[in-house]
Symmetry: C2
Subunit: 114 residues, 2 copies
DNA sequence: TGCTAAGATTCGAAAACTCGAATATACTAT
DNA sequence: ATAGTATATTCGAGTTTTCGAATCTTAGCA
């Protein structure tokens, strides 16, 4: 089961392992949107976007609902937004880490120049 | 920048998008371990494991430290464990969702058979 | 019945990933 | 120096992803 759980997690990560798909998930943060709206807002090619939707659907990250001519997507479980938020924190902590490293390097250079 | 952030997130997800690498990260939950310990505990081939270590290193998920003959790995930032924990919750919520769906289906079949 | 708009699917090529086998590197001990 | 142990890297084959182009499919409308 723990093996199974890891496979499951890996699949979710896989589903999110593309900037475009992350953009889609983030765009759905506040509720459902139609495929067309997403394409326009994110500046995506129709076919390409549809392929990314398919990936997200197949991994159950989003669900779709048909209304007349169009298809509306929404997050299946908003808990995934938490994942993205944690990563944002991670990003900034990495960033500040990197920046303080850069600062140190600059300071070293400074002392050397003296 | 938001574009950059998405690329960054995608890279992290990519790094975690493999059951073996998830296993490695989880094994490092309680602190550093040598490559050999990891290989043994997780039952990995030496070369394959080393390749996965390289991926995790390149995406800055783990850091390594050399001590004599061996190399010790540890998580660069334990915040990533939170990501995995959130996903575990997600997994179980999906699971119970699926199971209640199955139950419904069984109930339908039951009524039909009657 | 045709026409159009919204999406999905299929196809082929290029790129990226994954694995085991072989080889290389770095230490340690003899 | 030589041998052995721990780990990394390279290589080649097989698989998967990604993309744009072209082609469906479906719903709404004249």
């Amino acid at each position: 089961m723990t093996q199974e759980l890891r496979r499951f997690k890996a699949e979710i990560f896989q589903a999110l392992a593309h900037p475009t798909r992350i953009a889609i998930v983030e765009a759905l943060r506040h509720g459902e949107m139609s495929a067309g709206q997403l394409n326009e807002q994110l500046g995506l090619e129709q076919a390409n976007a549809s392929q990314h939707f398919a990936v997200l659907r197949s991994k159950q990250v989003v669900v779709s609902r048909k209304e007349g001519n169009q298809v509306f997507y929404s997050l299946r479980d908003p808990i995934l937004l938490e994942v993205l938020n944690v990563l944002k924190r991670y990003f900034y902590s990495q960033l500040s880490h990197t920046m303080s490293m850069l600062k140190e390097i600059r300071m070293d250079k400074g002392t050397l120049k003296k």
